[in-house]
Amino acid sequence: MTAAHDVERRLPPVMELGVASLVCTLTAGVIVAARGPKADLLWPAVVLLAVSAALLVAAGVLMARIRPFAWRQFFQVWKWATLAYVVIAGMLEYVFVKDETPGRILAMLTLLLVAFAVTVPSLLAFSVARFQER
């Protein structure tokens, strides 16, 4: 085994796709927030959310094909990180609901928060599992 292999296994671009998905989610969030809470639904944000979801699914498919992979450690990190990020996303959702954000915008923001709360724990869990023995 080479020194380079010891540092990092050659793996499919799961991390890169995950970060790209996060970039799309946050950009969509900025677009929605920039227009104000009472604005109409913004199609660029909808497209970015769809791209974000597609990138996340692609990352998941690539990850599922990695052999061998430390799934036990992945889910160990994922479940706790998801709990933490659900609390964080829940706080922001609470603010949007309390302020009576219009239905379509609220749905958009909720989907963005769901994407956020799925992407970040997945990135954290993958970053740990990739360096673990099975």
């Binding site: 010891d6 996060l22 900025v30 927030a33 104000g36 809470p37 922001l92 603010v95 990739r130 673990q132």
Partner: protein, 207 residues
């Protein structure tokens, strides 16, 4: 941490091996005794938002944001360079104890700052697109997004991977150095964004 990365990377594998902290590392990745404090802070935040009182919202936004900015700049530009001058076992031990606390503190501060900030923006009318300085508000969204990408997409995954590596019977020093090498440019980007935050927030507060 930057110096640790550079120095450990430059060492031969045989020399880089003893990175495991000399004393026992904490039993859990996240310090569980800190969770009640986080819960109290979040309950206070919910109460502040529910009551929609200007003072309470301002308190959470200013205190949370001030600590977030201060800690980011202090760790990136004061603690980091000092750490670089410590022995490698000392740095590893410091990191093993410091990073778990940061994994609890920083997400809490970010959540408090953003949630209270959005509600404060609604209260003051900053978030409405008709607000005179709305461009500054949008700039603050972009700054937060850039910091979130760096923190959540780069730094936090690396921190967590380092913490798990340090818990192994024989941590891979080269791997730790490789993971920490990304802290160099991340500290620079985060520092620049935090300075931009200070400029934007002081501008909005005096508008």
């Amino acid at each position: 941490m930057t110096e640790l990365a550079r120095e450990t990377r430059d060492m031969a594998p045989a020399q880089a091996a003893p990175v495991r902290p000399a004393t026992l590392i904490p039993a859990t990745i996240v310090p569980l005794q800190g969770l009640p404090i986080v819960a109290v802070v979040l309950v206070g935040l919910v109460v502040a938002i529910a009551s929609n009182k200007l003072w309470a919202l301002d308190f959470f936004h200013v205190v949370g944001g001030g600590l977030w900015t201060g800690i980011d700049l202090f760790v990136g530009f004061v603690v980091g360079p000092i750490l670089g001058r410590l022995s490698i076992p000392a740095r590893a031990e410091f990191s093993a104890r410091f990073m778990p606390k940061m994994m609890l503190i920083m997400p809490t501060l970010v959540t408090v700052t953003l949630a209270a900030g959005w509600q404060l923006g609604l209260y003051e009318g900053f978030v409405n697109s008709g607000y005179h300085y709305h461009a500054w508000v949008v700039a603050s969204y972009v700054v937060v997004a850039v910091m979130a990408i760096v923190a959540l997409g780069v730094l936090e995954p690396a921190n967590l991977a380092v913490l798990f590596e340090l818990r192994k019977p024989e941590p891979n020093g080269e791997r730790i150095a490789h993971l920490m090498s990304r802290f160099v440019w991340a500290a620079g980007v985060t520092g620049a964004m935090q300075v931009a935050t200070l400029v934007i927030m002081t501008r909005l507060a005096t508008a």
